[in-house]
Amino acid sequence: DAGITQSPRHKVTETGTPVTLRCHQTENHRYMYWYRQDPGHGLRLIHYSYGVKDTDKGEVSDGYSVSRSKTEDFLLTLESATSSQTSVYFCAISGLGSSGNTIYFGEGSWLTVV
């Protein structure tokens, strides 16, 4: 198994509160990603990082920010959580940016915004 740890694994929060999800990897991989998974939409990319302090937006980035101050950690922040951000969030890592490199996923973080 790839060394990816997501925390927290489950969280319930109130609308309007800030939430930070953490992804920690022990593989020293350059690329890290945050996806969300929703019924009927499958997995969609929120943000990704291609190195320390280098990040870019994905398909559904509105309402989310990320930071990567160390190779091993990629943080996803919901500045002011909304009910539409209730979802399962997956972190993924990849060693290279070119096609053909295996991408590994974490176990997921279940977030409920009430």
Binding site: Y33, H41, L43, R44, Y50, D56, G58, G97
Partner: protein
């Protein structure tokens, strides 16, 4: 933007039967990934295909990418209850960062 269509959306088979799941794109696929997901868990990497006509196997699961690189199939031989789960295909968005976009998945149920 590119889309991946998976079929069928759900599949119920008797243990021991063979089955096939398809993943189709309107555009050329560069790097096609297959994952399996059990309810409440993360994605498990199965296989990755790159070249037209490529075929890979792992235990009783075989994945193929057609010559035109627009369709992939996942075939399970002699299905077992342990094969049950959601199968997802993902394709490289060609941004240079290995970003993947995914199909909506196929839910497989294997009846003992």
């Amino acid at each position: 933007s590119q889309e991946l269509e998976q079929s069928p959306q759900s599949l119920i088979v008797q243990e021991g039967k063979n089955l096939t799941i398809n993943c189709t794109s309107s555009k050329t696929l560069y790097g096609l990934y297959w994952y399996k997901q059990k309810y409440g868990e993360g994605l498990i990497f199965l296989m990755m295909l790159q070249k037209g006509g490529e075929e890979k196997s792992h235990e009783k699961i075989t994945a193929k990418l057609d010559e035109k690189k627009q369709q992939s199939s996942l075939h399970i031989t002699a299905s077992q209850p342990s094969h049950a789960g959601i199968y997802l295909c993902g394709a490289d968005e060609q941004t240079g960062a290995n970003n993947l976009f995914f199909g909506t998945g196929t839910r497989l149920t294997v009846i003992p």
